[in-house]
Amino acid sequence: MSHRPAGAPQLTAREAGLMSCHVCGQLARTPSGAHALLRCPRCDTPMHMRKPASVSATWALVLAAAILFIPANLLPVMTTTSLLGSQQDTIMSGVVFLWQSGSWPLATVVFFASIMVPLLKILALIHLAASVQRRSRHRLRQRTRLFRLVEFVGRWSMLDIYVITMLVALVHFQGLATIHAGPGAVAFGAVVVLTMFASMSFDPRLIWDPLADGRAATADHP
């Protein structure tokens, strides 16, 4: 059962001169000095009006992830050596292999987790950071939902890292078959970690802030 608070006047904490603690949710009055550091009166966490340097940190991490996404997909993530010879696999060729061997549900899962999710996550975070910078007031709810989705699905990109780990650990039959991890795995791991940090550094409240600015402006100039 879901309970929705009654539609109170649409006032944000920032407009009311309040900050909320990101750990325990406690509200506190914003100190007047620009550089005054406030600690949460209840749980002692340092408080910020918004996550510090949110947009620039998100940009930096997303761009780094976007660059590493290229080697992550082009370099081999593993090398299989067997009696039949040696074969190098990229992430995509691993998906193709699963598809051809008949396990197409798993091929679909791996394709989404390893290729679509990181790609869409990078694009979504670029869209969010850019629209916040433009102070866009469109589709606020949809963009908040997009952010929630990015936070929720991001972790599943780690899938291929674990697949490689298990294959390397299990397949070391000297003379018969061995599997080694390739440099693509390092780049891929870095993409996952960077996009997770990028979505953590993005502050979704920035999506809604332009709305309050608009209200303040119309109040000043009726």
Binding site: Q10, T165, A177, V186
Partner: protein, 216 residues
Amino acid sequence: MHASDASPTLPAELIACHECDLLQTEPRLAPGETARCARCDAFLARNPPDSLDRTLALTLTAAVLYVIANVYPLVGLDMQGRFVEVTLIEAVRALWRDGMTPVAALVFVTAVLFPLLELLMILRVLLPLRFGRTAAAQGTRENRFFRLVRAVKPWGMVEVFLLGMLVSLVKLSHLATVILGTAFWATAGLILALTFASRAFDTRLMWRAPETGDAR
């Protein structure tokens, strides 16, 4: 410190949405009810019934399963008469020896270290609460452990690990016989226990004295 002491001039039930910053009053929730933001639909609070006991029971279950999942072999592989089996730590070590140090470290942190830290911190925070010390008596030092839980949680990926293991086994099933080990099933149980524990955990327990009865 009680919520009401923290900032005496503010009504205790006033909260700001952590996703859109809208001020609203937190409704009184019946057990099992969830509060969502009036404007952006973000999750605000849940009132899970019997939160403290259920969370503790499930976390202790998870702790036992965690030990089993890390001590026993995850899977065994039988290839033309040769048999190998690996535990989680051995898998990480194999990757480390293979020269994939950063990837091995990432797997260790997300599949071994952070899930353990999360379990220990939840127990560290909840056990004193269960044995009669109020949240108020714990003071701010204890809250550091809770902050650590929050920081560590997104990086614990046991469920992704289990799916990754399944994918790797499907890939191997055509060239070897796969035997699922004790730790495989323990990991599956661990995921269930962790999921239900985090659903049962009312974080507000941390900041408020538990309200007795069904008044909420």
